[in-house]
Every structure is written in structure tokens, then in C-alpha cells.
Amino acid sequence: MAAKKATPKPNVSGDTLKNYYREMLLIRRFEEKAGQLYGMGLIGGFCHLYIGQEAVVVGLEAAADEGDKRLTSYRDHGHMLACGMDPNGVMAELTGREGGYSKGKGGSMHMFSKEKHFYGGHGIVGAQVPIGAGLAFSDKYKGNNNVTFTYFGDGAANQGQVYETFNMAAIWQLPVIFVIENNQYAMGTSQQRSTSTPDIYTRGAAFGIPGEVVDGMDVLAVKEAGEKAVMHCRAGKGPYILEVKTYRYRGHSMSDPAKYRTREEVQRVREERDPIERVREMLLTGKHASEDDLKAIDKEIKAIVNESAEFAKSSPLPAESELWTDIVA
């Protein structure tokens, strides 16, 4: 997958493709801005950027329907933007302000939106996996036809609770899609050094859960695989595993110097496999958009991101009384 593939003919309309471009670009620019605000000390603590992985969430959201649920780990900004959460609310949570999704009390790793069916934002590696299956359990119990996208990384794939969950999801036939975002590094430890099998999706076979590997740098491939997985779940056939091969360009968190890989490795992925460049090329060669059209989109995205940064800076700190609210319902 290292070499650039011939640009395939998209099986979606030019407008749809343009939307994917816009959504991926929003995530990238948002994350760059978050990195910048972190550098300025406006964002504190841990901040895990999603840059490089944008096609995964945008592709899978394209396969989701209203009412479907999603949750992920602490690398969650991209997921929130892709499911339609307000960039202002996300950025203001990063700066710990009243206007944030959790009123500033959650931070980068702990955000939720009941309205958009986004169930976090989980800071404990792998803890979201049984929770995701539990959300799917609630849908099955209620008898609706929703599915839950449960995202986790290649690092979390080594947690014991993941396999406890695979087992129960399989015996109870839960409508859950386990999305393994394999960005190849569990913090600083490469998959090669930490994971016994090169193909994590095959681990579902032990539980009778079908799985497949997907090129996570290709939004259309992700969407197609997502649609297949969704169809499987909605047909009542139980869980499905998608191992999405992706890559994060930045360190594990803002304070990671990323010395465990070479600069060339990162540069090569950026140049040869970048998910946004790929769609950009498709748009241009397919004459779905001109350079000017794309510039206009860039400008529009820049404005949204700048506004979110302004909002995140101007929103007040939470009232001190907030310390004592939301502890119990």
C-alpha cells in the first residue's frame, strides 16, 4: 500500500465527494488549530490529534444512518466533527471553557453529545469497547434497527476486555461494528513489537465474528466497507470487525517527540497516501471541482476553524459553582 495507486473512479457523485473533502479538511484544519492553541498554552493536559486518519471517520459516517451511535477513545476530535458536532463546542471544551460540550469539565478526552449520539470520548484504553457493545445491546433490547460504531486503536486491541466483549457480542448477536483504527503505533510501540498477529481483524475469527481489512487512507474504500458492515448488523447477523489501516502524522499526544519512527516514514505517507490529497486529485481529474472551487472550500473551512478558535478563547471559564454540579443526577 506504500505506492500511490491509480486514482479510482469514484462511485459517488461529485457533490458527495466534495462533501467528503470538506469534512476531512475541517478535521485537519481543526486539529492543526488545536495544536497551535496547545502550543500557546490555551489547551492544557493531553491533546491527541487525528491528523492523517481523517478518511476513517468521514468514510464511516457516510455509511451511518440517523440514530446510529458512535464512541471512541481519547483521540476523539475527528469523530465528533464527523458526526456533526459543533466545532465551537469541541474547541471550547479543549480550552476548558463554559461553551464546551462538557462545560469545560471533560477536556479533550472526555466529550459527549446525546443529540448526535456520540457516547465519548474515553480516556481509558479499551474501556469504550464493552460500552459500545452495551449501547448496541440497548438498541437490540429496544428492538430498533440502529448500529453502534465502536472505534478503538491497534493498541487497545491488546486489552483483555476487548475479547471479553467480542465473545459476548457474538453470543448475543449485538449490532456493533468494531472499528480498529490501526495507525500502527500504540503510543510509541509499533504494532510489530506489540501485537502477535499482523492482521488484527482475524482475531474475530476465534469468536465467529467476520472481519476485513480496509485502506483507511481511502475514504471511498472506508465508506464501502462501512456500508457492508452496517448491512450485516442491521440484518441481525451480529457484530462485524473492520480493521482500518491508517496513519497518524503527529505524535501520540502533543508532548510526544515521536522518535520511534523516522521522519522519512511520516513524510512518505504524507506524500504518497494522504487521504485528503487523494480526494482532491479525484475532484480535479474527474472535473468535479476546479482549483478555485477547492480554494473556496479551503477558505470556508478556515473561517469555521478560526471562528471556533475565537469562540474557544472568548467563552468564559466555567463558573466556580460548576465544581459542584453534575456529580449525581
Binding site: 459527549f112 481509558i124 464493552p130 443526577a329
Partner: protein, 458 residues
């Protein structure tokens, strides 16, 4: 207008760093994501990437400069068509961080601390006088509570090891599979961490799970999901996402089951904000508190006791009998000393009170029933009356509930005390198996009597 590139903070604690190396020079074109410099923090050398596109105008801080404060301008970036012009003087001071809008003034916190006003004892009976009562075991009371709530609310379901076809490892869920079917009474594999997480997810998804642990000793496998996921999410979500769930099962020592099956977790869970913790002694409390727990919108830790399952108590015959969480019960009124306990500790407390009465010592016995929130008022009002206090629990001594009550009494009622508070607890040892040693490890009635005599100077 040229953009200033500022010295970045590259870790949660970084205040300054060394600008180790520039990877660009003035006039170079950069686009976002290009590495432009290497910066040494106290922990590592980090690559610093450009955020905006443009041309490097002036480098304001030379490479090799040490102690560059975060937010100091280190270079300028020119956007499309801009000229470099005069180099602005590098500001020696870091740019003032955007002034953060001030928050609203603090309101008085509503922590779970005792009220400042004179505390009042709660002496209201749990059911109206004259109500018919029947004799019921704790086991039957727990089952009735679950069954009544499941009849009333479709979202309530029971899951755990052996709860369905086996009828419960301790027969608490006897008959429930027959009545409610396998959709609502669910046998799980032996996988506490996983099924606890699934139950938490189901609660986030709008259901009201009751999770039975075969014992709370096994819940240690799942304690991350209980504490980090169930208890904290309401707060972390700014109030959006609550977790209505009950975790129940036997807790503490049974008989001769050794160190790994005998721990009392009362003090552990009582420490966690976001949880409610209850530990009933009687059958009526078991029933009334479990019904309240199932209806509560928060995660509730419901600590039972294997030895008490077969004990019989009065339970009122009422359509819908509940006991509010957070209210203690005064089992016996007295004047000379306050004995505070909960769960099976009540057995020793009540036995001791009987024997002390023979010696002419009148003990007031309070069953906390709820350990989070604690009914401080009832305890304090009683201690202000008796001026002496002994606490009784089965758990380990360090960081016990008794320790916390002692501290609270000292803070709020120091002047009323005629003797130091004594905590009777389990011993500071793993539970031994040998019959004689196990007896020594547990708290006993005699120890409670001795403690009371000590605080009453008899």
C-alpha cells in the same frame, strides 16, 4: 499582516525550552505540517510544525538559544504577496496569553459535608404505624424488590453470572427467569470486566441494568468500568449522560472462604463521587433500598452479605415500599453512647447493646444503611446527646468508614465528646482460612462491648 510564530508549549508542564535548530531559513516557503524547527523541552526534542502556509519572513530567535519562554515570537510568517520589510524587534517577553474571560463568582459548594446548623436526628419510621408486616428473609426481600421494579419498568433487566437458569448462585433471582424470560434475566459468561462495561453502555443507551456480581470480590476485575465509566461520566459530560445502574451482590466475609473471597468494599466505593453506596442489614432495608436504587438515576453500589441472606426480619406489606437512600435508621435509642454501624456490623452492634443494657449502659444504635451519601445529621445529633461514639464495621481499619466518621465528629462535635471515638473494624490482615484465625480477624461483639466500656470509662 505577518503572522508571528510563537514558541510553543509542547508538554502539559513546559514553560520554556531551547530552540535547538531551525530547519527553514528566511524566505523559505512553508505549508502547514512542514517541520520548521526542533525544540528541546525538559523531556525530549520535539519537531515543531508550521500551522499556516506562507513564507518565512524573519527568524527572531536564533538556533541554540536556551530558556525561550513559551509564547515568545520566534519567527514571522508572510502570507501571499507580503514583503519581509523591517525585522520587528523580538519581544523579550512572551506575548501575553489572551486574557481569559473571568468565570462567574463561586456559589457555596454543596458538597456532601454535614450541615452547619444543629443536626437533627431522623427518627421517622420507615413505614406508617399499624402497617401489616410479614416475616421475610433478606434473600426473598431482594428478589421481591427486583421483581416488583421489573414488572413496573420494561427498561430494568438483570444480568450476571448464573442469575438465570441456575436461579442465582445464592438463589436471589429464584424464579425470575420464568417470570421475565431470557431477554430480561441474562446469564453472562464469567467475564466481569466485559459484562460490566456492556451494562454501563446499556445504561448510557437508556436501559436500567441490575448487575449481579457473584461477590464484590470479583467486581475488582470490573472496578475501572464502575469508577471511571459509570461514576464519572455524568460529570465529564457536563450533565448530559447519566448512568442509571445497580451493581449488587454479596460483599465482605462469608465463612471460611479465605482472603480472596472475604473483603468488605464499603469504604472503597464510599470514596467515589458520582456513586451512591448502600449496605442494608435488615430485610425491609434490603427491599426498600433496592427498589430506590433501581429507580435512582445514578450508579448505585448495593452491598449485600451472604450470612444475612437467610436472616428473617419484619417487612411491611405495602404496594410500593421504598426506603430513601441517604437516611440512617435509629434501631435503638439510648443515652450513654452512640454505636454506629451498617451491614453485618449491625449484628455485633445490636448484640453488644443488649448485653450493655444488662450492665446498665444505654446504647443508641444507628444503622447508616447508606454510605454515600451518609446521614451525618443523625450521627452528629446522637453523639451530641450521648457524648460518646463507637463505630463498628467488618472492613479493614485503614481508611475505614469509622475513620471518616471519627474525623467528621471531631470537626463538627468536638466540644461534645467526652472520650475519643473508637473504631471497631476487621483486623489489618488478609482473611485467614483457619477457623480460629478467621474469628480473630473479624470484629466481634466482645470487642464492641470493650470499646463502649472504654469510652464510658466503665
Amino acid at each position: 499582516m505577518a503572522i508571528e510564530i510563537l514558541m510553543p508549549a509542547l508538554s502539559p508542564t513546559m514553560e520554556e525550552g531551547t530552540l535547538a535548530k531551525w530547519l527553514v531559513k528566511e524566505g523559505d516557503t512553508v505549508s502547514s505540517g512542514d517541520i520548521i524547527a526542533e525544540i528541546e523541552t525538559d523531556k525530549a526534542t520535539m519537531e515543531f510544525e508550521a500551522v499556516d502556509e506562507g513564507v518565512i519572513g524573519h527568524i527572531l530567535v536564533a538556533e541554540g538559544t536556551e530558556n525561550v519562554k513559551v509564547n515568545t515570537a520566534i519567527a514571522t510568517l508572510l502570507e501571499d504577496g507580503e514583503e519581509a520589510g523591517e525585522a520587528p524587534a523580538p519581544s523579550s517577553e512572551p506575548a501575553a496569553a489572551d486574557s481569559t474571560p473571568a468565570p462567574a463568582q463561586a456559589k457555596a459548594p454543596e458538597a456532601s459535608t454535614p450541615a452547619e446548623d444543629a443536626p437533627k436526628m431522623n427518627l421517622e419510621p420507615d413505614w406508617p404505624e399499624g402497617t401489616e408486616v410479614k416475616q421475610q428473609t433478606v434473600r426473598e426481600a431482594l428478589r421481591d424488590a427486583m421483581a416488583e421494579e421489573m414488572r413496573a419498568t420494561e427498561e430494568v433487566f438483570l444480568m450476571g453470572e448464573e442469575v438465570a437458569e441456575y436461579q442465582g448462585a445464592y438463589k436471589i433471582s429464584q424464579g425470575m427467569l420464568d417470570e421475565f424470560g431470557s431477554k430480561r434475566v441474562i446469564d453472562t459468561p464469567i467475564t466481569e470486566h466485559g459484562f460490566t462495561g456492556i451494562a454501563v453502555g446499556a445504561a448510557f443507551g437508556g436501559l436500567k441494568p441490575i448487575v449481579e456480581f457473584m461477590t464484590f470480590n470479583f467486581a475488582m476485575q470490573a472496578i475501572d468500568q464502575i469508577v471511571n465509566s459509570a461514576a464519572k461520566t455524568l460529570y465529564m459530560s457536563g450533565g448530559q449522560m447519566g448512568c442509571p445502574i445497580v451493581f449488587r451482590g454479596p460483599n465482605g466475609a462469608a465463612a471460611r472462604v479465605g482472603a480472596q473471597h472475604s473483603q468488605d468494599y464499603a469504604a472503597w466505593y464510599a470514596q467515589i463521587p458520582g456513586l451512591r453506596v448502600v449496605m442494608p442489614y435488615s430485610a425491609s432495608d434490603a427491599k426498600g433500598l433496592l427498589k430506590s436504587a433501581i429507580r435512582d438515576p445514578n450508579p448505585v453500589i448495593f452491598l449485600e452479605n451472604e450470612i444475612l441472606y437467610g436472616r428473617t426480619f419484619d417487612v411491611p406489606v405495602m404496594d410500593d415500599f421504598t426506603v430513601p437512600i441517604g437516611k440512617a435508621r435509629v434501631w435503638r435509642e439510648g443515652d450513654d453512647v452512640t454505636i454506629v454501624s451498617f451491614g453485618i456490623g449491625m449484628q455485633y452492634a445490636l448484640e453488644a447493646a443488649d448485653k450493655l443494657a444488662e450492665d446498665g449502659i444505654s446504647a443508641e444504635v444507628i444503622d447508616l444503611r447508606s454510605l454515600r451519601p451518609i446521614d451525618y445529621d443523625t450521627v452528629l445529633a446522637s453523639v451530641m446527646k450521648t457524648n460518646r461514639c463507637v463505630t463498628v464495621e467488618e472492613g479493614f481499619p485503614v481508611g475505614s468508614i469509622g475513620n471518616h466518621l471519627s474525623a467528621t465528629i471531631m470537626e463538627k462535635a468536638f466540644d461534645y465528646l467526652d472520650a475519643p471515638v473508637i473504631n471497631c473494624t476487621g483486623k489489618d490482615v488478609p482473611m485467614p482460612y483457619a477457623a480460629n484465625l478467621e474469628k480473630l480477624a473479624l470484629v466481634t461483639t466482645d470487642e464492641v462491648i470493650a470499646a463502649v466500656k472504654q469510652v464510658t470509662y466503665r
